[in-house]
């Protein structure tokens, strides 16, 4: 369950982020980058041991970390998360990073097991939206930013990637629509494609293949640093490629 440590003591205003899928890979890397800047973090992941190990490492930075183990598709788990958010009373950044790849190796869409497809959509589309619902009052009060992690599979039509890709395509349209719906409330929503990374998830997508040519998730740190400096309402509705050539701010 929840555990806390290191209450913030610095002069700078407290900044709070909630990151799903934070025990490893991209989620952990972003969490560590923010923790080293003394953000207050609420982290979730499905598996207890890796999550607790991640928290232990992150607490060594001196940041205040709350970890809540669970599955983002479960109402009860989201309830626990939002309780942690309310206790802190602020939310500047919500990163919907936890994702379900689906069956691996990837079956073609024509023969795709429908119960797996439902699970993919539940984790990648419904759960992020449900978490946004739950966090909305705090996000509004903090004029926060929602980041939904997407993939080039959302646009590719790659054979075998139909379930994951269509879920991410749906998440991108959810992001764009929410951006328009929430602009007046002062909440920004963006989609971020981190690009190919050397993570467990990427390995699961390419079972048995050598993915050592892909960069580690740290390659995206400059993008996150840049995003921190952006006014959520200037960038809302945009889709960014963390490894892309230009991170554009609309005029």
């Amino acid at each position: 369950m929840a555990q806390s440590s290191n209450p913030p003591t610095h002069a700078q205003a407290e900044r709070v982020a909630l990151i799903t899928g934070a025990s490893r890979g991209l989620g952990y890397t972003v969490a560590e980058f923010l923790a080293r800047q003394r953000w207050t973090l609420i982290l979730t992941a499905r598996h207890e041991v890796p999550l607790l190990e991640a928290v232990k490492r992150l607490q060594a930075t001196g940041a205040s970390i709350t970890a809540v183990r669970g599955d983002v598709t479960q109402d009860r788990h989201r309830h626990d998360l939002i309780a942690a958010v309310r206790r802190i009373g602020r939310l500047d950044l919500l990163i919907n990073n936890a994702s379900e790849l689906g069956a691996s190796p990837f079956p073609a869409l024509v023969g795709y097991p429908l119960e797996v497809l439902r699970r993919v959509l539940e984790v990648n589309v419904v759960a992020p939206l449900a978490l946004i619902h739950a966090c909305l009052p705090t996000l509004k009060a903090s004029k926060g930013l929602v980041v939904n992690i997407t993939s080039d599979a959302a646009r590719g039509g790659y054979p075998g990637w139909g379930a994951y890709g269509s879920s991410k395509a749906a998440l991108e349209l959810v992001s764009k629509t929410l951006a328009n719906e929430l602009r007046d409330a002062g909440v920004g929503v963006v989609a971020v494609d981190p690009g190919d990374l050397r993570t467990q998830m990427h390995q699961d997508a390419f079972p048995g293949q050598d993915i050592s040519d892909r960069p580690l998730p740290e390659v995206t740190l400059p993008f996150w640093a840049w995003l921190e400096g952006q006014d959520p309402l200037r960038v809302t509705g945009q889709r960014f490629e963390a490894q892309g050539t230009v991170w554009e701010v609309p005029a």
């Binding site: 003394r38 930075t61 580690l216 400059p222 640093a225 230009v246 701010v249």
Partner: protein
């Protein structure tokens, strides 16, 4: 392209350490090497206007130089902290150095703290692929500290700290560059007037330059990580560039920063207004489409700037120009001589 192809022998006697106006009164007293497809011409910068014709467009960088070098006190003692790029409130990319002449690497640990003026900065993470650069976070804004205690970033070949004015050009308007966009330094009001009288027009972009041109460390040039810089190309400039090219005139960038900004705003339909951070790395595998010429200085061996010149006119002509420059004693670096490269 192999890293090895960008190596050349550079005599250190050719490093300029003094702004030319200190010795010769005027900034346009520097020399000008002009490289065109038909060869090289030797001139002085005062001759610059005669290499352009009516209708040509010069594009300048409006970024002004910050006094971005700070004294810092940490576990390694007193050392230099050069700020490169501001990312967010209190979040900068920076280069710690033993001192201006000694780049390190410093034995910095993640989480290490240092005192800079009345601020405490903390090392957050090294830049991926460029370990000499670090993201740092500060407990208060660093801008007022730069104003009080900062000096212009300088390296070993510049023994004296020159006033910040020496690091600004006629076009400097918006502070934000760690290092001077130096190509415009020799353009005096008189030269600008002569150009305007000759029918040459001016436009501007904004690109805040980070710390000095990157030395390529990977075996292949394309594999080198490059850091992004903030840029802005306005609608007015986009229109001027597009119209100039449609009319068959030349667009000449004043400085490599301008090439990076314009190329970052390039689309199949020409330049469009665009702003943000650009990571674009211009090398021969990534051709230049937006400019017909470049006014620049002379660049160090194995740097990303040299790869950009190779993208512009091909490596053999760059190396030929550099042999010509070395044989004729042209001077290197921000206070050095000028090089006008025209593609046609």
């Amino acid at each position: 392209m192999k890293r090895q192809e960008l190596v050349f022998e550079q005599p250190t006697a050719l490093f300029a350490s003094t702004p030319v106006e200190m010795d010769h009164g005027a900034r346009d007293a520097v020399r000008l090497l002009v490289t065109t497809p038909s060869g090289h011409q030797h001139a002085t910068f005062a001759d610059f206007p005669r290499f352009l014709t009516a209708g040509d467009l010069l594009v300048a960088n409006e970024s002004a130089t910050l006094a971005a070098s700070l004294e810092s006190h940490g576990p390694s003692g007193t050392y230099t902290l050069d700020l490169s790029t501001r990312y967010a409130d209190g979040l900068w990319l920076a280069e710690p150095r033993w001192d201006p002449a000694h780049p390190g690497p410093m034995p910095i640990q993640i989480g290490e703290e240092a005192r800079v003026g009345d601020a405490t900065v903390r090392y957050v993470a090294p830049y991926p692929g460029i370990p000499r650069l670090w993201f740092i976070t500060a407990d208060r804004p660093l801008e007022p500290i730069l104003e009080r205690a900062g000096v212009p970033i300088h390296y070993g070949y510049v023994q004296k700290i020159w006033p910040l004015d020496s690091y600004q050009s006629l076009f400097s308007r918006v502070p934000g560059s760690a290092e001077m966009p130096s190509a415009a330094r020799p353009i005096t009001p008189k030269i600008r007037e002569a150009l305007e009288v000759a029918g040459v027009r001016f436009a501007s972009v904004l690109l805040h330059s980070g710390v000095s041109s990157l030395e390529i460390e990977t075996d292949t040039v394309e594999a080198q990580a490059v850091y992004p810089e903030p840029f802005q190309v306005s609608e007015a400039t986009a229109k001027l560039v597009n119209r100039t090219r449609e009319a068959g005139h030349r667009v000449v960038a004043i400085g490599t920063t301008v090439v990076r900004a314009l190329e970052s705003a390039w689309t199949a339909d020409g330049i469009r207004p665009r702003q943000g951070f650009t990571r674009l790395f211009i090398h021969p595998g990534n051709p230049v489409r937006s400019v017909d010429g470049l006014l620049t200085g002379f660049h160090d061996p194995v740097t990303s700037h040299l790869a950009m010149l190779a993208a512009l006119i091909g490596l053999p002509r760059v190396m030929d120009a550099y042999r010509e420059a070395i044989a004729n004693g042209y001077r290197w670096h921000e206070f050095g001589d000028s090089h006008l490269i025209l593609r046609t």
